[in-house]
Symmetry: C2
Subunit: 409 residues, 2 copies
């Protein structure tokens, strides 16, 4: 007899490996004898509108599975929808559980970051309150690497690999002229500097890495910044600086807010950042007279699936697979986590952890992994992050372009 | 007996395949029995300062050759130096020929774009005037694809492949939300829209391509732009627009100049562009209220050697190799060109062509390859450009990052 049906969704900002977790859920649920495996379109928001698909209509064979692993962005579509508190709007929960019960869903998986884990927490707490036997499991996903408890998050390794690789190429490009120049590279990460720190991974036998790195964990000071850049400028003609989009001045204002006319906010109240590099490049041009260029990785750092970390792809799959195994084993209200056993040789084990202790928490780069002057990261960061970018997954190239799996709308 | 010595240099903006041309020159000259193969550091500017290297000190074996093919940016360093007219500053020419004669150089190769071909023209004309037997050959290179006479230029295919691949990933990323959004992607190309047009190559079985494409060949009109975007917005929630950094309004002003405090110019008088996408995204936000994002490929489109076109790499090598063979055959004052025999199956032949008819000319996208409303490119462009992005050259990955060959400074 088939086990119950499955509902899986993707939420929040996409990554290059979020679909590998989807495949991990799908394949493991299927192989374990679950019934229909539904995918919600655009996360919980779409599910509330009863928009979902039978995933077997799209993932038809093992080639599709491999293709989906190589497909960036959220295959099922995503959302930034915050579930209201159950006490305030119980009808939302009633509607959701009605839909799930009607579809005979017993296992619910949500692949996402901080905000998505809030959804799993709300739903599993509500289920406990109404004695529902539906099991709710979170699958970690975020390029930001800012989820609590877990050693790291699927998505981070590939974004870090992209950043480090592109950084090497940019440094080589910037250094080819004998004229003076300053390049400011803007990297994602609202409050946590994990991604910006990954710029340091470009340092290798054939590359010196960026000259300065500014994380959001450290207060940004325009005067210090000018001085530090000028100091490097003394012995190098081409200076390359990595800076987080989320750097803030002492008054708590984002650097990129200077001169912006309108700053969008999403439903979680997060400001849409951007413009830091161009602003700082202009600032440096004006104050030094040196040609300065701003480069922004923008969404490429989360969707460049043509350059993923094989380890990240595998771990993302495992996170999805383990969430299914845990749910089948009776667990609910938990998220799959990674525990680091050792850096070299790299070794992790997976576990599952109480979602109430993960949701809405945020893990930043430890301050003792940042150099005293606040312009670089330490050896400890390198030892932690470098294993996460190892290995490649060759894209499926068709007529010169990476091929993706897609849902025909 | 060894033939004469060789001097080779790289000039202008780097590309992902400019070092493949360098390898083509090096290997062919070596295999043909030339003497020492010198590489000028930072082009003609460095040579005037007597900065050059013996390339055999750096390219020691076939592995180095393969590594150099995979190394982005100009291995020897580059410059943006304009040779003065020989009548005005004959001492510059005298100094250069003194250096070349002292080094017993008989063959001079310069890998570059429009401005670099001007250098070859000046030098070969001067050589003729003083009856020097040094032979000067140009090797085409530019991501902009704007060199006259040749069917296309080495460097364009890889930049086009990067743009088309990244575009696919960006479109997939932008389309994953069910909310409204407009993404404006800025692509290089001062006056010629070849690179921006390459965004159309992202259109494939699994991707609809960008919705609108704005080339610098067409006058940019803010009102029309607003109307065209709004029209697409009616039937799609996520609009993606590709726009050249070089689009100009009817008054001849670059769109990106609006609101800029200082615009740098290089020694050829070219303005340093940038900011078009952010400016237009802000413009759309303000006028539509829809969340708009600007994405700029910046230098990544010319240095992302981790994603090159195999065909481009091979042709870049051939261009360098054929320049050597032509010079050994007695030719001088010419540039290697490609002639297209057929699109399907793709076939080209190489030839060499009088540099006086190439230097300082500029080839734009033919207007009849642009749709009547000026928002897309035609089938003819597709048939021309698609063969150029075919095939891959796997990067040499070491510890998760692409490895490059480099000169220790």
């Amino acid at each position: 007899m088939a086990l119950g049906n499955v509902m899986v969704g993707q939420s929040g900002g996409p990554t290059s490996v979020i679909n590998s977790s989807l495949v991990g859920v799908y394949k493991t649920a299927k192989d374990s004898g679950c019934g229909t495996i539904y995918g919600m379109r655009n996360g919980i928001e779409g599910l509330l509108q009863e928009r979902y698909v039978d995933l077997s209509m799209y993932i038809k064979n093992d080639l599709d599975i491999e293709l989906l692993k190589r497909t960036p962005s959220s295959f099922l579509g995503t959302c930034r929808y915050k579930l209201p508190a159950a006490e305030k709007e119980p009808e939302v929960y009633k509607r959701l559980f009605d839909i799930l019960n009607r579809l005979e869903v017993k296992y619910f998986f949500y692949i996402g970051g901080n905000d998505s884990m809030d959804t799993i927490m709300q739903l599993s707490n509500y289920a406990a309150a109404i004695n529902s036997d539906i099991r709710f499991m979170g699958v970690p996903k975020t390029i930001d690497n800012d989820l609590a408890v877990t050693d790291h998050t699927p998505g981070y390794g590939s974004a870090a690999k992209y950043i480090a690789s592109a950084m090497k190429e940019i440094i080589r490009d910037a250094s080819t002229y004998s004229t003076d120049s300053i390049t400011v590279v803007e990297i994602m990460g609202r409050n946590a500097g994990w991604l910006t720190a990954a710029a340091a991974l470009s340092k290798s036998e054939d590359c010196n890495g960026p000259d300065l790195i500014y994380l959001p964990e450290v207060v940004f000071d325009h005067d210090k910044f000018m001085k530090q850049v000028s100091e490097v400028k003394k012995y190098k003609n081409a200076v390359v600086v990595a800076v987080s989009e989320g750097v803030k001045t002492a008054d708590g204002k984002y650097v990129c807010e200077a001169g912006k006319t309108n700053v969008f906010e999403d439903s979680f109240g997060h400001k849409m950042l951007g413009g830091t590099a161009l602003y700082l490049a202009d600032f440096l041009s004006e104050n030094t007279g040196i040609k300065s260029r701003g480069i922004v990785f923008s969404t490429l750092q989360r969707c460049a699936s043509h350059l993923v970390s094989r380890r990240d792809i595998t771990e993302a799959f495992t996170a999805g697979a383990d969430a299914v195994l845990a749910a089948l084993n009776g667990e609910t209200g938990k998220m799959v986590i990674f525990k680091r056993i050792s850096n070299a040789p790299y070794s992790i084990i997976t576990d599952s952890y109480d979602i109430n202790k993960i949701a809405n928490a945020e893990k930043c780069v430890p301050l003792d992994w940042i150099t005293e002057d606040g312009t670089y990261v330490s050896k400890e960061f390198d030892e932690y992050a470098r294993p996460l970018i190892i290995g490649e997954l060759t894209p499926f190239m068709v007529d010169g372009l990476p091929r993706h799996l897609f849902i025909d709308k």
